[in-house]
């Protein structure tokens, strides 16, 4: 079965964090803390989402002198739709109705 894009546990964790308050611009460090993803995992995912126009990015000028502008993120309309779909699909997989999802014998789990 081909893998569904944007459905890894790490990406789902990020989607959940971004869906908490979609219009708000978020920072990388804050997202890393919230999702417990290392920067080396988080940023490549952000990069991929932004490339596919699922994520908007911006530079927010710093209010404190001497600090560099910070990169900010929020989901686009497409991103919100896809993230909602993926999170919902994952939730339904976690508590499968036994009758609705018969497991074929010997099939891969």
């Amino acid at each position: 079965m081909p893998r569904v894009p944007h459905s890894s546990p790490q990406t789902l964790r990020l989607f959940e964090a971004l869906l908490a308050d979609p219009p708000r611009w978020r920072y990388g460090y804050e997202l890393s803390k919230e999702t417990a993803l290392a920067s080396g995992t988080l940023y490549p995912i952000l990069m991929r989402l932004s490339e596919q126009r699922l994520l908007e990015t911006g530079w927010e000028p710093s209010d404190e002198p001497g600090r560099p502008p910070r990169h900010t993120y929020r989901l686009t309309a497409d991103g919100i739709a896809l993230a909602g779909q993926r999170v919902a699909a994952a939730a339904s997989r976690q508590r499968p109705a036994p009758a609705a999802r018969p497991r074929p014998a010997g099939g891969a789990a």
């Binding site: 990388g28 460090y29 080396g40 940023y43 490339e51 560099p68 910070r70």
Partner: protein, 232 residues
């Protein structure tokens, strides 16, 4: 700021920017957040992830280049790596030498090229009959055949070489009775030394005059002459 944080930040800056004023968008994004981290461990982990991010960003950039550019980059990298590997191999593993004298005729003639092994013999050890390149005075090199290993008793009787009381079979000699005659003083090869002779006994200067050579002076072992089939 602790020295660990400073080091982590310094490495991240180098990874993101290199010699440029400003790095790629995503590398800069990670760098801009560095100040948010708390504690040395978190700073180091953040910087390590930043390096990974830069690597991924770079790979994406390269993938977006036109095919021709990508091929050219690969070819250039490949050529540089191959040249570097070639130099290392030539220096430490395999190399080509030229025969400086006629002392190994007819096995190796003057100006014959031959392939030498610079590393393998150190693992396998030298054997009787091997041809070796020895360091001579003033950076010169001598090429001789190993006749005796440490502990061997070498003597010459009636123009033939004897090792531990047995006549040595020497099919590599010129095959001319006048040139094959070998005279030498009886010698027991001391530890760490080799008794070496040139195949062309009337021309060669070797352990008959100089005594056993030091094993430490062995630079390489001759693998094979490089001669075009049919040439000479």
């Amino acid at each position: 700021m602790s020295w660990v944080r400073r080091l982590a930040r310094g490495m991240l800056v180098v990874a993101v920017r290199g010699r440029r004023e400003r790095g790629g968008e995503w590398g800069e994004a990670v760098l801009a957040e560095f100040g948010e981290t708390r504690g040395d461990l978190e700073a180091v982990r953040w910087a390590a992830g930043g390096v990974r991010t830069v690597w991924r960003e770079r790979r994406r950039r390269v993938r977006a280049l036109p095919l021709y550019d990508r091929i050219a980059r690969h070819a250039l990298t490949g050529a540089l790596v191959a040249a570097g590997a070639g130099l290392l191999v030539n220096q430490f593993v395999l190399s080509v030498r030229m025969m400086p004298s006629g002392s190994m005729e007819p096995t190796l003639r003057v100006s014959d090229r031959f392939l030498v092994d610079k590393a393998g013999f150190r693992l396998t050890g030298l054997h009787r009959g091997d041809i070796v390149v020895l360091a001579g005075p003033g950076g010169s090199e001598r090429v001789k055949r190993v006749i005796g290993l440490p502990g061997d008793h070498i003597e010459c009787r009636a123009g033939h070489v004897w090792r531990d009381g047995v006549a040595v079979d020497e099919p590599y000699l010129p095959g001319n009775p006048a040139e094959d005659r070998t005279e030498c003083a009886p010698t027991t090869v001391p530890p760490g030394h080799l008794f070496v002779l040139g195949d062309h006994r009337v021309v060669s200067t070797d352990s008959r005059q100089d005594g056993p050579a030091r094993e430490d002076d062995v630079l390489a072992r001759v693998l094979t002459p490089l001669r075009l089939a049919g040439a000479g």
